[in-house]
């Protein structure tokens, strides 16, 4: 199953990985070293982040560097902005309805 972006971000280690590679692309080995984790544990986190497209692998020689995919995070923020916009529209509609009801009562 495709990984969910909420689940991906909810984990503190994965957030830390994202913060780190947003500054500089890293190999899995470098991540393991920086977080004092086993290579296996790092691989698990990479898998989750990669599956929801928050990070992108880029081979360089024999190594694979993982980059932060800012576009995916922007998509998420964009979606939230739309969600907010919907609420704003609905609440403005409710303002009008409340005004109408209050006028009818008078």
């Amino acid at each position: 199953m495709k990984q969910d972006i909420f689940q991906a971000i909810a984990d503190p280690t994965r957030r830390a990985i994202l913060t780190l590679i947003a500054i500089q692309a890293l190999t899995p080995n470098a991540m393991a070293e920086k977080f004092d984790m086993t290579r296996q544990a790092v691989s698990k986190h990479i898998k989750v982040l990669h599956e929801c497209e928050l990070i992108k692998p880029e081979p360089s020689g024999r190594e694979i560097y993982y980059h932060f995919n800012a576009k995916k995070m922007q998509e998420f923020d964009h979606w939230l902005a739309q969600f907010r916009q919907n609420w704003e529209t609905q609440f403005n509609q409710l303002d009008q309805l409340l005004t109408t009801i209050k006028e009818q009562k008078q």
């Binding site: 998420f76 969600f83 916009q85 009801i101």
Partner: protein, 163 residues
């Protein structure tokens, strides 16, 4: 239009929770009715040009509202709200899940918590939406997409203000 009324929209991504606060220029009783009576909900509960259509609503603990968001071309997106807790005029909680037209729910859904309070004739409504998964939250928006072209300009302004 209502610039003097508070509107707060916050997202805690790590807690998978959306927090919304809005003030309304009306008494608590009336605002409560607008959120809990089908005939009123249907008049504002979907962003234009979408509209809300309630098939039935039993506003009681364990009761349900079965409703649809209807697009201008007549497409319907059904959902079920199940009321899990009600404290008249001050709080209610519900579990919202999308459904087919025969009321079969697609689980998991999301948990909604509404709080109402009044001060000097202004009623404040706090809404908390908890979603286990972003994909489910994403679906909340699926039915709304039609209206977006018109509000793109607003969206740009909003994105500018958020960044």
């Amino acid at each position: 239009m209502n610039n003097d009324l508070l509107f707060d929209f916050n997202v805690d991504k790590t807690a998978k929770t959306v927090y919304i606060t809005r003030e309304f220029n009306a008494g608590q009783s009336l605002v409560w009715d607008a959120f809990t009576k089908a005939e009123l909900l249907d008049q504002w509960g979907a962003p234009a040009p979408m509209r809300a259509k309630t098939k039935y609503m039993n506003f009681e603990v364990g009761g349900r509202r079965f409703y649809a968001m209807v697009s201008p071309d007549g497409q319907e997106r059904w959902a079920v709200q199940e009321f899990t807790s009600i404290t008249p005029k001050t709080n209610f909680k519900m579990y919202n899940a999308f459904a087919d037209k025969d009321e079969n729910r697609e689980l998991p859904g999301s948990e909604w918590d509404y709080n109402f309070s009044e001060q000097n004739g202004i009623t404040k409504v706090h809404i908390t939406i908890y979603n286990e998964s972003f994909e489910r939250l994403e679906k909340l928006l699926e039915g709304f997409k039609i209206g977006f072209a018109m509000t793109l300009k607003n969206l740009e302004d909003l994105l500018a203000s958020l960044s």
